[in-house]
Amino acid sequence: MTVLIILLSLCLIILSIFVVVSRNLLASIILFSAYGLIMALVWQQLGAPVLALAEVVVESGIISVLFVVSVFRTSKDDVE
């Protein structure tokens, strides 16, 4: 179990770095929703299945949709 958590954590860190560094906003949002899914997995491993479910719904669901909508209404590049 520990190994799984280590792997997932590594994934989390790498994903989050990509999310922050990526020039394309749309790409970073998609990566962010993947990050949310992996985060949910970690939480499940840590004995919080209900929270994991909530995280999937909220982070990868509602918030990602909100992000995509706002990005479509603004610009797609990583500049202000």
């Binding site: 954590s9 999310v19 922050v20 929270l51 909220v58 909100l66 603004t74």
Partner: protein, 109 residues
């Protein structure tokens, strides 16, 4: 030393994620990126809180007969509430970002 850092793995990871998120908030010019950074920070803290409540080999806090060792449910309840509040905050931030963008580009809808 190595063993200690293994048991504290969750804390270390959450701190790293927190700092990455903080970098995005502080350094990236794009408003959307800042909001994403805020979300990363937020999830990092949730991870930290869940890590606090976790006990080795503890079951999730659902009462099932025969299990005596549960993880602490209290941090999980906190995270759930904070998660909900966080959605609201993110939504408001996005609304502001979109309005600001429209204002600056002279688009009125």
């Amino acid at each position: 030393m190595l063993k200690a850092s293994f048991s504290n793995l969750i804390y270390v990871v959450s701190m790293i994620l927190f700092l990455i998120g903080f970098y995005a908030v502080a350094m990236r010019p794009s408003l959307i990126k800042k909001i994403i950074g805020i979300n990363i920070m937020e999830t990092a803290i949730f991870l930290f809180l869940i890590g606090i409540g976790n006990k080795k080999g503890g079951a999730s806090p659902l009462v099932v007969e025969g299990i005596e060792k549960y993880v602490n449910p209290f941090p999980q309840a906190m995270v759930l509430m904070a998660l909900v509040v966080g959605v609201g905050t993110t939504a408001l931030a996005l609304i502001l970002a979109v309005r600001l963008f429209e204002c600056e580009n002279g688009e009125k809808r």
